[in-house]
């Protein structure tokens, strides 16, 4: 059952229409009711950290899936590099989990049914989507952070995600800037920055059958 495996949360509060996630541990899995498919990410700085924690979970789960499958269409060098990416994303995920402590949301499983993971191009295009989305998410989240330490912390990860994104473009033979960095106009030289709501909308298929509610996060 996807629904059951999608989502393991410990200590979550199940409401009629909204799940507010809090705490973690080894409690039994929660199987939401039909009406309980909206998951709130929380509010304030912890909400923002949970938001990026969710994205890191998504990336780590994706790369883990590829590394486990060891598809023959990836060369040894490519698989080595993608294993590096898996390592980095798992480290990001575990770091945020530790940082959030008792405020961390639970561990998600994700729905990759919209991706084509049976071809080299399909895998790399999926990675490109996730990495570009991650960079845009960090670029958009920075101004919402109120703690300078946390701001620098997210910056430390954001540039690594940008390096990943460029590398995945390299593997695809696509220039890492042409489709990302504006060449003309007022934003020439800049890449995309997305709000949490925009990022969650773009990643929505990966959360199905659940939807993530980021309405509690700061907007500016």
């Amino acid at each position: 059952m996807r629904r059951r495996s999608f989502f393991r949360v410990a200590g979550a509060t199940v409401a009629a229409s909204t799940l507010v996630l809090a705490g973690c541990g080894d409690d039994p899995k929660i199987e939401p009711t039909d009406t309980g498919t909206v998951i709130s990410i929380g509010d304030g700085e912890n909400g923002l950290l949970n938001y990026v924690y969710l994205l890191e979970q998504l990336e780590a789960t994706f790369y883990q899936k590829i590394v486990d499958a060891k598809p023959a269409f990836l060369s040894a060098a490519e698989l080595t590099a993608i294993t590096d990416l898996r390592d980095h994303e798992v480290i990001h995920r575990e770091f945020f989990k530790q940082l959030l402590g008792g405020n961390a949301i639970g561990t998600f499983e994700f729905n990759f049914s919209t991706l084509t993971l049976t071809t080299r191009t399909g895998v790399l295009e999926a990675a490109r989507l996730l990495e570009d989305l991650g960079v845009a998410a960090y670029n958009g989240a920075a101004k919402l952070i109120t703690t300078k330490n946390t701001l620098v912390l997210l910056g430390k990860i954001a540039s690594v995600e940008a390096r990943h994104a460029a590398f995945i473009h390299d593997l695809l033979g696509i220039d890492p800037f042409a489709d990302v960095v504006a060449a003309t106009g007022a934003d020439a030289g800049l890449g995309p920055a997305l709000t949490p709501a925009q990022v969650i909308t773009a990643a929505a298929p990966f959360f199905l059958p659940y939807t993530i509610d980021v309405s509690g996060l700061p907007l500016a």
Binding site: I91, F95, A158, A165, D170, D175, G191, A193
Partner: protein, 346 residues
Amino acid sequence: MNFFHILSEIEKTDPEVFERFDSRRQVFKHLTGFGKKMTAATLPLALTAIFNKAYAQTTSAPSVTDVLRFALKLEYLEAYFYNLALQGDGTIVVGSGTGNTAITPTQTTFRALFSATNLSSLTKIRTDENNHVNFLRTALASNVIPAPAVSDFDYTGGKGSGTGPFTGVFTNPAIFLAVAQSLEDTGVRAYKGGAPYLASNKDVLTAALNIHSVEARHAARLRTMRRAGAANNAASGVAANATNTSASPKSWISGQDGGGASPAQTAPIYAAGSLPAGTPAGITFPAEDNVVQGPNGTQPGVNLQTALASLNFPAAAFSEAFDEPLDVPTVSAIANTFVRNGATIF
């Protein structure tokens, strides 16, 4: 009480009083705004706040303008570099059809040494860096730093002699890519280090971190080129040499990368910075091989390599997963590698 009278009185003893504010124009804008909603009772308090702010700047953290001006200097350094190598006389390309866009015979020869995809990326990087200069110039408006003379920079690292350790920088692709990677990796660390000082202006913060991510993409692309060679059109498929990431880097920074592309000159780009006065509490500038993350207030941070040992990941992964910020004095020293003696830019 008359604001302007007070200011002119102060100016008699401190001619730079206006310069201590963001700019003369902004002072008057602020004062005009204050005047509308101020009563005689609150006025002395407001004045105190204004002057505290103005006179505290020299000893505390850099202002938003200071950070942007510093970023602009770094962008001049980068843009001139790509311009001199690939197209034009070094000067900034402004808009379309202006600036110097001619390609010299030397540049034509040099461009032919790169594969088609590599040259395509390099010309886009050049465009991006010129655009960063123009973006920052627009953002700074009257506080802009005039474009330095092209001759103020010596990309051989020779301090003006033109015969420094990177001699051949615009004729030998390997040397060019070594310097390019060094400049981009420096830029990433510099923007990251500047971010906390921009927190008061969210638009500027967002733009600066955005440029920061573009520089990181540049750095990764250049690292791929170095790994496989300038003429390799399928560079990405080549594995890094994990035991010599100085010569054959990953697309991300691994440990301190053995001191970078040319350790005698580039080691400081990956090493720890200093901790200048005014650095916000809790922010540090560790070397790129740092594995302790998340110190906050009284919390010491987590040694990820220890805490996550059960993952059995390679030790390098824990430093690779995080880039580190760098402080202004350290970045200035690095940038001065490429400034001629006698020129005061950084």
